[in-house]
């Protein structure tokens, strides 16, 4: 312990300027970041100046600068402390002194805990407190965020620092790493045509597992043996493995297992019917990069029982034409459409390469669409009157009303802050009133709703902040369907808001088979606009 403390004190004395800068930046972040939550309440930092400083004003810009600067300061703080007893080379003073590598490592760990982790933890607590949450209720999330920080950032960073001789070399290695990541992303975007990733089933566990094991192996090899060759090989293997995960998504391999087909004879929790009367015709449009075609299949969706919601997670398509040619897509992520109780017309969408589209468009094909879905059930429901000030919503956090920018006296929705993560999937519904809030309504009211959060959020979302925003846009039906020149829909303070929260109950895979499907012709951009407003 004496040695650990001696090394720790030495580092603290030597790097006090770096420590001071790091902590000052964190303090500034804690002071500035909450102002972005209150941007509408403060006209000096908000709306009037948004043209020059972004929607959240100069404090918002400063907050986002600090979001970048704090991690940069952490990198410097970490690198300086480890490089001062560097492991690469054979002329360092300490390698022929009675330094026990475990104690040296422990001293560096103590240094990071004291000057990086502890201030970060305290900053997160203060932010929670500032946002109206009791930090003691979120200790699990707070520690989980520290774990994510360690696994995703600190361990790989420390591994690279141990492998480099100085800060310049470290920067070069980090630059190289950024180039590798950019190149991998570029290649993946060429190879793969789906921009939405699959649901996170295995990849994050595998990714974090690889990062933790690979980085720790490199660190231990360097501290125990100072064998840079073996440590570099470990880091290279780790980089290759993580890059490969982008090409061979491990989630795709376990989709069938995680989203099983319902047993034969059991009632399907959601059904899709193609070709029902009143449905629009299928459409095909080019994706943004014009390399693939997005096919939209209109379906009548029904069967979701009351109190449930089906959330679309991924689709897989197979096509077979009369010549016996078959094409099967990989699993593609979707935009997570939610299917509610009752019957309604909706779309199932998938992407195929343009070349494949051209091959199959001449003549009927047998189309099979597998839809992977999560079934969720209402876990809690609360009705809370909309207030023109911050108000607490159980299970979500603290919400505040949002106003129209051109008429700050009128409400348009809410924005919620939740602790450690976005909230569990929640449907927020509210009734808009026709006319002025103070006057008696002369027409029917109109309901609007929006979704916030997602299914199965973990104990914490990885981030520098412990408070997450979830905007709820309640204006859509009121504006698009009903607004007229001489009329006004109002969202009035005191209006009851219904917060319905859902929890995953099961996962399943449903298949829709469409025989003799004729591929639709490619729709032009003008036609798409017409189709949208039809």
């Amino acid at each position: 312990m004496k040695q650990i403390l001696a090394i720790f004190v030495k580092d603290a004395r030597r790097f006090w300027p770096e420590i001071l800068i790091c902590i000052s930046l964190l303090v500034a972040f804690v002071l500035v970041y909450p102002t972005t939550w209150r941007v509408e309440d403060n006209p000096l930092s908000g709306g009037h100046m948004f043209r020059f400083f972004g929607a959240q004003g100069p404090m918002g810009v400063l907050a986002y600068c600090l979001v970048v600067l704090v991690p940069v300061a952490w990198v410097i703080l970490t690198a300086r402390a480890i490089h001062c007893d560097r492991l690469v080379g054979n002329t360092q003073h300490w390698i022929t002194r009675p330094y026990d590598w475990r104690k040296l490592l422990a001293a560096k760990f103590l240094y990071l805990v004291t000057f990086l982790y502890a201030p970060f933890f305290i900053a997160q607590c203060v932010l929670l407190r500032e946002a109206g949450f009791n930090p003691f209720h979120y200790l699990g999330g707070l520690f989980f965020n520290l774990f994510l920080l360690t696994a995703a950032c600190m361990l790989p960073l420390v591994a690279l620092v141990t492998l480099t001789k100085g800060f310049g070399r470290l920067m070069l290695v980090l630059l190289g790493l950024v180039l590798v990541i950019a190149a991998t992303a570029g290649i993946v975007s060429v190879v793969s045509y789906s921009s939405i990733s699959l649901p996170d089933l295995l990849s994050s566990i595998l990714g974090y597992g690889l990062l933790i094991c690979g980085s720790m192996a490199a660190i231990i090899v360097m501290y125990a043996r100072r064998n840079a060759k073996v440590a570099w090989l470990t880091v290279l293997a780790l980089t290759v493995a993580i890059c490969l995960m982008n090409f061979f998504d491990p989630d795709a391999a376990v989709m069938n297992h995680y989203f099983p087909k319902p047993a034969a004879g059991t009632a399907l929790p959601v059904t899709f019917a193609f070709g029902a009367p009143g449905l629009s015709p299928p459409s095909a449009s080019l994706s943004g990069d014009e390399k693939s075609v997005v096919i939209s299949i209109p379906v009548a969706q029904s069967g979701v029982s009351d109190g449930n919601v089906a959330v679309e997670q991924a689709v897989r398509v197979s096509m077979e034409n009369g010549r016996g040619e078959k094409w099967v897509s990989p699993w593609e992520g979707t935009i997570a459409d939610r299917f509610l109780p009752g019957s309604r017309n909706t779309w199932l969408r998938f992407q195929i390469r343009r070349k494949t589209y051209e091959e199959f468009k001449n003549g009927p094909v047998t189309l099979r669409i597998s839809v992977a879905m999560s079934m969720a059930h209402v876990s809690s429901e609360s009705v809370i009157p909309l207030r023109d000030a911050d108000f607490a919503v159980p299970e979500i956090g603290v919400c505040k009303p949002t106003h129209w920018m051109w008429n700050p006296d009128e409400l348009r929705g809410i924005s919620c802050r939740s602790a450690m993560n976005t909230p569990q999937l929640t449907n927020v519904s509210v009734t808009w009133k026709w006319g002025d809030c103070r006057a008696e309504s002369t027409r029917d009211q109109i309901k609007s709703n929006d979704w916030a959060g997602g299914l199965d959020p973990g104990p914490a979302e990885f981030g520098i902040t412990s408070v997450w925003d979830a905007g709820v846009n309640l204006t859509w039906p009121a504006l698009t369907g009903n607004v007229t020149n001489d009329a006004q829909w109002s969202l009035c303070a005191g209006t009851p808001m219904r917060f319905t929260q859902y929890e995953t109950t099961s996962r399943l895979r449903e298949e829709l088979s469409i025989p003799a499907f004729e591929m639709p012709e490619l729709t032009t951009a003008d036609q798409l606009i017409l189709l949208k407003y039809r």
Partner: protein, 313 residues
Amino acid sequence: MTLAIRTDHLRKSFGRTVALEGVGVEVPEGAIYALVGSNGAGKTTLIKVLMNIFRPSAGTATVLGRDSKRVAADVFCEIGYVSENQEAPDWMRVGEMLRYYRNFYPTWDCELEAQLVRQFDLPLDRKLKHLSRGMRMKAAFASSLAYRPRLLVLDEPLSGLDPLVRDELIEGLLDRVPETTVFLSSHDLAEIEGFSSHVGFLESGRLLFQEEMSSLTERFREVTVTMKSSAKVPEGVPQSWLQIEAADSVVRFVHSGYSEAECSVELMRYFPTAHDVRVEAMTLRAIFLAIAKTSRGTRQQATEDRTASEVRA
């Protein structure tokens, strides 16, 4: 005899470059062993193998009874290491550095530390980076002697220092002997001649010889034989006669196994008509030059023989 350092058929190569080949060093406890050799001979490599900075490619090395591959924190409590190439915690003040190192050595002697500070006239409040080379070396010595190490390993500790600093360091070193075994490397014979008890000579990665300094200077003599008429090198001279050459009426050679009685007999046998014989003691420098030149000559001959046999084949 207990050995503080022992290597056996030690080999160290870096890729195709062989830095050490078949080195067998034996350093008795309490000795001041000087490892001498020209630049690039492999002295630093050998020291780095002993300090477990490099791992041997073959053979073994033992330091204070421990395999060099296992020399770690616990052994470094008993070893002091000073090298001209060693980085120091430059940002620290001298006093800070000494206080810092105190934490690592259970045997750190504060009184001895104070004595060394006085002896070397160290400025405790000056940062190491602001010290002269000599002062830095003295600070390194103080930080490596204050815990009374059993073994002090010094890699070219005196090179480039002015004579005054050199004397101060040597004096500080001699104060610790025989409590501390000293193993030092140098390419300058003059600087180690006065105080070393043992010497080893490393050339091109090979240890040509090692010996107690007293016996070495005892057995080497420069012999000059003057003949009455023109002289020539006799056939079949003993192998211990090195660098034998004849010019006019004089034959000169270095006797590497000199003893008065045997030498007289040998001289009578090979030079029965000698007019005059002079036998002179040699400086360490002259001894090393004789050995190095002979060794190079032998190696060149061996290479030529090998080439010739290959050509013939």
